[in-house]
C-alpha cells in the first residue's frame, strides 16, 4: 500500500539555512498493517508524518513515496486526502469562526466529490456523525462549537479521531495522538482506531511511549533516530525500548 524509498527531506531554518531532517527512510506498509514509529525527541518522526500529508515547509530532496502506486509527492494535500491519506495532528489547529459540524461536512463532501460520489445530505450526515461521536465518547455539543476552539487537549484528540472515523482513510497517520492524554481519552482514541482496523486499511502510529501500543497492537515497530530507521522489529521491540530507553539502540547503530 505505502512504499517509501530512500526519503530525504530538509527544512529552511529562521536563518534560511538548510537543515537536513530525514536521511534515507525506507518503509513498506502492506494493507491491514499497523506500524509504530518510535524515537527520541527531534528524531524526525513528526516531520516524516507531515511530509506524507503534504506540509509545505519541508522540501523532499531525494527518494519517493507511493500510496497505492500513486506518487504522493505529485499530489496536493487535498488530493492526498482524497486518495485516502489522513493525518491526525499532534497539535490540532483552533479555527475560530468555523463551525465544527460545517467543517466536518465540508471535508466529507469534498472528498466524496473528488471521488465522484454524490454529497451526503444534511440528514444522512447528521445521523452518521452522531453515531461516530458515540464511538469516541464525544458530546454532541462539540458539533456546534468552532473547530477545536477552547477544546481541552483530550477533546482536540477525540476530534481528530472523529474526523478519521468520518473520512474512513486508506492510510491513517497518528502523530503523537497519545501525548497529553489521560487514560480515558487514550482508551477512547484507541477504541476509535481499532474500530477502523480492517484488512484493507493501514496505520502509522507515531509515538514516544509504548503506552498507546498496549491499546493499539502494532504489527511492526520502527525506531527512528536522526532521520533514519535504525531498527525494526515486532511489537516486543516497543517493550524493550520502554525498559531500556533509546541509548542502547543508538550505540548499536553506531557500532
Amino acid at each position: 500500500m505505502l512504499q517509501i524509498k530512500n526519503l530525504h527531506a530538509s527544512i529552511q531554518d529562521e536563518k534560511q539555512k538548510t537543515k537536513c531532517i530525514l536521511r534515507g527512510i525506507n518503509l513498506q506498509i502492506n494493507p491491514g498493517e499497523v506500524h509504530a514509529i518510535m524515537g527520541p525527541n527531534g528524531s524526525g518522526k513528526s516531520t516524516f508524518a507531515n511530509i506524507l500529508a503534504g506540509r509545505e515547509e519541508y522540501q523532499v530532496t531525494e527518494g519517493s513515496a507511493l500510496l497505492d502506486n500513486q506518487d504522493l509527492f505529485a499530489l496536493e494535500p487535498e488530493q492526498r486526502a482524497a486518495a485516502g491519506l489522513f493525518l491526525a495532528f499532534q497539535y490540532p489547529v483552533e479555527i475560530p469562526g468555523v463551525n465544527n459540524m460545517y467543517f466536518l461536512k465540508a471535508a466529507v463532501n469534498s472528498i466524496r466529490k473528488q471521488r465522484q460520489l454524490p454529497p451526503l445530505d444534511a440528514m444522512d450526515f447528521l445521523t452518521l456523525v452522531k453515531t461516530k461521536m458515540k464511538e469516541v465518547n464525544m458530546d454532541e455539543k462539540f458539533l456546534s462549537r468552532a473547530v477545536n476552539e477552547g477544546f481541552s487537549g483530550g477533546e482536540k484528540k477525540r476530534n481528530e479521531v472523529l474526523q478519521m472515523l468520518m473520512l474512513e482513510p486508506r492510510l491513517a497517520i497518528l502523530d503523537e495522538t497519545d501525548s497529553g492524554l489521560d487514560v480515558d481519552a487514550l482508551q477512547a482514541v484507541a477504541k476509535g482506531v481499532n474500530s477502523l482496523r480492517n484488512p484493507q486499511r493501514s496505520f502509522i502510529v507515531v509515538t514516544h511511549y509504548q503506552r498507546l501500543l498496549n491499546y493499539i497492537i502494532p504489527d511492526r515497530v520502527h525506531v527512528m533516530v536522526r532521520g533514519q530507521i535504525i531498527k525494526s522489529g515486532g511489537k516486543e521491540l516497543a517493550l524493550e525500548i520502554e525498559e531500556k530507553g533509546y541509548g542502547w539502540l543508538e550505540k548499536e547503530a553506531q557500532a
Binding site: F86, L87, G97, A106
Partner: protein
C-alpha cells in the same frame, strides 16, 4: 483655496437647486452661511492629517441634485423592504412616501421627514439643524448643513421601546451623476430603546455623490443599536458623518458594513458627555475591486468618568483595493475609570491591496485602562493546511477562512433577520 474652480461652479449649481423652505428664513439663511463657509475653507487637502490617505477630488462633485422617481422594483429592492415593518425610503435623496411604511410604530414615537418636522416640530428640530460643525474637523458635515435637502427625523420619548427595527433605505436609481445630502436626526429619550438600519444601495445609478449626516442623541439610559450598510455603485462616492452624543449610562452599539462605492469616507464620532456611558463600535469592509478606496475614521471622546468603549474593525481586501482605518480614543482630563479598547485587523488576499491602519490613544487622565492594536496579514497557513489535509479544496478552504474572519463582526448584529439580510448583501457578488 483661490479662484473659482469648476467644482465650485458645480456645487453652486447644486446649491441653487435646493428647495427653498418658505417661511423658514432662519434655515435658508443658515444654509447659505454654512455653504459659504465650506467654499471658503475649500476641500480638505492631503497635508491635513485627517485626510492623509484619502483625497476627495473636487471633480467628483456632479452638477445636479438627485430627483425623485419610481424605483426599479428589483430583487434587491424587495429583499430590502421585506426585513422590517417600519421602512422609510428615500429615492435619490427624496422621501418616497408611497414606498414607506410606519404603521408598526408605537403612537408616541415621532418619525417623519425633516421637511415635515419643520412644520410640525419646528422648535424641537431647530437647534439640531442649526448645529455648527467645525469646518476643519467636519468639512463635509459643514457642506451637508449648507446643502441638506431632507432626511429622517426620529424622536423616541422616554421609556419607550421600539421593538421593530427602523429601516432607513437610501436608494439611488435611474439617474447618473447627481448629488444627495441626506440629514438624519435621531433622538432617543431616557430609558428608550431603538434599532436603526441605514441602508444605501444603487439600482441603475452611477457616478453619484452622497454626503450624509446622521445625528444620534442618546439620553440617560437610552439604548441605541445603529447598523449601516454601504452598498453603493462601484463608481459612486460616499461620504458620511455619524455623530453620536451620549448621556449618563446610555449604551450605543454600531456596526458599519462597507462593500460598494469607488470611494467611501466614513467618520464616526462619539462624545460620551456623561458618566457611565458605553459604546460598542464594529466595522467590516470587504473590498473586491480594483481602485476601491474605503476610509473609516472612528473617534471617541471620553468626557466623563466610568465610560467604556470598544472598537473592532476588520477588513478583507482583494485586487488593487485600498483601506484606511484611523481609530482614536481621547480620554479627557478630569475623567477617571475609563475602559477603552480598539483593534483593527486586515486580511490581504492580494499582493496589490493596501491598508493604512492607525489606532491612536490620547490619555490625559489617570486610573484608565486602554488597549489598542492592529494587524495586517494573510490567511493563517496552519489553518489552511488543516482544512486542505481534510480534503477541502483550496478555493473552498480560502472561502471558509475568509468567512470565519468576517463572522465575528456579523455576530454583533443581534437581530437574526437583520444579520442574515446584511450578511447576504455583503456576500452577494455583483
Amino acid at each position: 483655496m483661490s479662484g473659482i474652480t469648476a467644482s465650485q461652479t458645480n456645487l453652486e449649481m447644486c446649491f441653487t437647486q435646493n428647495p427653498h423652505f418658505p417661511r423658514k428664513k432662519w434655515l435658508n439663511d443658515f444654509r447659505l452661511q454654512q455653504f459659504k463657509q465650506f467654499l471658503h475653507a475649500g476641500f480638505p487637502a492631503r497635508k491635513d492629517e485627517l485626510w492623509k490617505y484619502t483625497e476627495i477630488k473636487e471633480n467628483l462633485i456632479p452638477e445636479k441634485m438627485g430627483i425623485l422617481c419610481e424605483p426599479l422594483y428589483s430583487e434587491k429592492f424587495s429583499a430590502a423592504t421585506a426585513i422590517s415593518n417600519i421602512v422609510f425610503v428615500f429615492i435619490n435623496g427624496h422621501f418616497a412616501e408611497k414606498l414607506s411604511n410606519t404603521q408598526a410604530l408605537p403612537p408616541q414615537v415621532t418619525l417623519c421627514m425633516i421637511s415635515q418636522a419643520l412644520e410640525t416640530h419646528e422648535d424641537k428640530i431647530k437647534p439640531y439643524l442649526l448645529r455648527e460643525f467645525d469646518v476643519k474637523r467636519f468639512p463635509f458635515a459643514k457642506l451637508n448643513a449648507g446643502m441638506m435637502t431632507n432626511g429622517m427625523f426620529l424622536e423616541i420619548p422616554k421609556n419607550i421601546t421600539v421593538t421593530t427595527p427602523i429601516h432607513l433605505l437610501f436608494i439611488n436609481t435611474k439617474q447618473h451623476e447627481f448629488m444627495t445630502n441626506p440629514r438624519n436626526i435621531i433622538i432617543a429619550g431616557q430609558h428608550s430603546n431603538v434599532t436603526i438600519i441605514e441602508d444605501h444601495f444603487a439600482e441603475n445609478a452611477q457616478h453619484y455623490f452622497t454626503n450624509a449626516v446622521t445625528d444620534i442623541h442618546a439620553a440617560e439610559n437610552a439604548r441605541v443599536n445603529y447598523y449601516k450598510i454601504q452598498d453603493d455603485h462601484l463608481s459612486a462616492t460616499h461620504i458620511a458623518n455619524v455623530l453620536v452624543e451620549q448621556k449618563q449610562d446610555s449604551c450605543v452599539k454600531t456596526v458599519f458594513l462597507s462593500k460598494g462605492a469607488r470611494l467611501e469616507r466614513e467618520d464616526l464620532s462619539i462624545w460620551q458627555q456623561e458618566r457611565g456611558a458605553e459604546t460598542d463600535m464594529h466595522g467590516l469592509y470587504v473590498l473586491r475591486h480594483d481602485q476601491q478606496h474605503v476610509d473609516h475614521h472612528v473617534h471617541v471622546d471620553h468626557l466623563a468618568a466610568n465610560g467604556t468603549s470598544s472598537m473592532l474593525y476588520k477588513g478583507i481586501l482583494e485586487k488593487k483595493s485600498h483601506a484606511v482605518f484611523n481609530g482614536k480614543v481621547y480620554v479627557h482630563p478630569a475623567t477617571k475609570q475609563i475602559n477603552a479598547h480598539q483593534a483593527n485587523h486586515n486580511l490581504l488576499l492580494s499582493t496589490e491591496a493596501e491598508v493604512n491602519s492607525k489606532p491612536e490613544l490620547e490619555i490625559y487622565a489617570e486610573d484608565v485602562k486602554c488597549t489598542h492594536g492592529a494587524t495586517i496579514g494573510q490567511l493563517d497557513n496552519e489553518s489552511l493546511f488543516y482544512l486542505l489535509s481534510r480534503g477541502i479544496e483550496k478555493n473552498e478552504a480560502h472561502k471558509i477562512l475568509t468567512r470565519a474572519f468576517a463572522e465575528e463582526i456579523y455576530n454583533k448584529i443581534e437581530d437574526t433577520v437583520i444579520r442574515q439580510y446584511m450578511q447576504k448583501r455583503m456576500s452577494d457578488h455583483d
